[in-house]
Chain length 321, copies 2
Amino acid sequence: MLIVPEKDIADLMTRQAAFDAVEQVFAAMAAEDAYNFPVVREAIGHEDALYGFKGGFDRAGATLGLKAGGYWPHNLEKRNLINHQSTVFLFDPDTGKPTAMVGGNLLTALRTAAASSVSIKHLARPDAKVLGMIGAGHQATFQLRAALEQRDFERVIGWNYHPDMLPNIAKVAEEAGLPFEAVDLPDMAQADVIISITSAFAPSLMADHVSPGTHIACMGTDTKGKQEVEAALLAHATVFTDEVAQSVSIGEAQHAIAAGLISEGDIHQIGAVINGAHPGRSTDNDITLFDGTGVGLQDLAVAARVVDLAEKKGIAIHVDF
Amino acid sequence: MLIVPEKDIADLMTRQAAFDAVEQVFAAMAAEDAYNFPVVREAIGHEDALYGFKGGFDRAGATLGLKAGGYWPHNLEKRNLINHQSTVFLFDPDTGKPTAMVGGNLLTALRTAAASSVSIKHLARPDAKVLGMIGAGHQATFQLRAALEQRDFERVIGWNYHPDMLPNIAKVAEEAGLPFEAVDLPDMAQADVIISITSAFAPSLMADHVSPGTHIACMGTDTKGKQEVEAALLAHATVFTDEVAQSVSIGEAQHAIAAGLISEGDIHQIGAVINGAHPGRSTDNDITLFDGTGVGLQDLAVAARVVDLAEKKGIAIHVDF
């Protein structure tokens, strides 16, 4: 069995490899070749930690396993460790024996960024020029970097609840040679693509902040109660997601569903668009919205890529297990 | 982080260490210092495999993690690998970082054997002389070996649906210097302690096969539909279990509950007896019955012992993860 420690991931994994892995597994999910297991998520009553397991099996990719870990909110202040800690374990689907253990922290950031990028590739207008960012934390920099590779964007506009964090994303835009402008939320109407990546419990982006033809990727809502955009926006949009069951229960769509504005049948798997089973955007005036909730299969997919890369480069640690 | 491969477990782990670990974690569960997470168990649609995760957190023992793996029914015939395959992963409850990966196959056998032994220690009559075995497969040898250490047994009697397997357990009895006799089920009335360890879906041991004063450990029923003993036996007995929620849903008690013969409140945690919060057996004529369903915390507890032993002996594999 192979071990790829967290410290080796940054040198091994590329945005392109993460993109390819996530695109393929979303397609496999829609083709019913891959499915996620029920998620275990426990407040363990120690260090205020949330801990659990996201598992799945991708028959098409022969990838079986889980991501284990969670959120330790005092890690940074107490121990100078990052608060999100996760590890991916892969198993041989033919035998049940463990095949790999992979650091999951950077991979989680990359697979989340890859998901919004996959949605942009398949749903944004080809001529999209202005990218709007809602959120400017650490994860926002990953989403932005990955998104810029999908269209010939000419400028980036951004809004954050704490404006003093906007330089995080301004820096990424400038590194890519693009101008960045801090804007008010109504100015998001200038954007052709909007990515929201916050941990908000109330909507920031309202329906009238969004112009016809925009693609929106809602990437922050992964828990009951969280919300980034006005529920009415989903009623105006064609809604896509990674996994419908999560979208309606813990994703951005939970609110539009609860308000009766849309029904589960109005939410489409992004994988169906990738596979050609759903046409995706139908006109240049459509608003498309991707509700990215985050699934275990994404973690397994990027971890499997890392293992391949580590083997090719000869840097995986082999353990006779 | 430390790795203890499957091949090292046999030389490291002892029945006594497994017993101590399981006794302590049962006590912690009853004291509400330890709890099991919801179990994930999936028929993955490949190789007829069942795969899943049993996690938990023992605050008292500072042990957090999961056992992952399952049952690959064609491993032995196709690949000369054992069909049950599992691995235990431990995490630091202070930080969420992985601390150990431990082969879980032999440990599962040892922790299951330890559970019936713990029940014998705390519930069987001190003067028990005759041990009855129902079942004679591989796991039965583990249950028997462990049980023999708990009382001064003078002989072993056994029954199995396939009598040609009885030499498996006869050999263990003879190695311990005890006579073994194959018997019919009604002859189990001679036994002071009975262990059932089968994968049956219909009862073998009937209420009138059991004498007053007997302790019975039902160790085979871990799934909806399985059954080893007549439901009426539970109505005559004082019933104990590892975890009440599992006992009533997937354990031996599921049938007595469904038939209305006992209620959930009639089932006691074995840990309460260990802690002194429940008196256990009250007279020499009581029938006591332990419904051993198997919980993730047992796996974590024995794995944590192995890691300690491997460190002390200097044979754990250290990986900078």
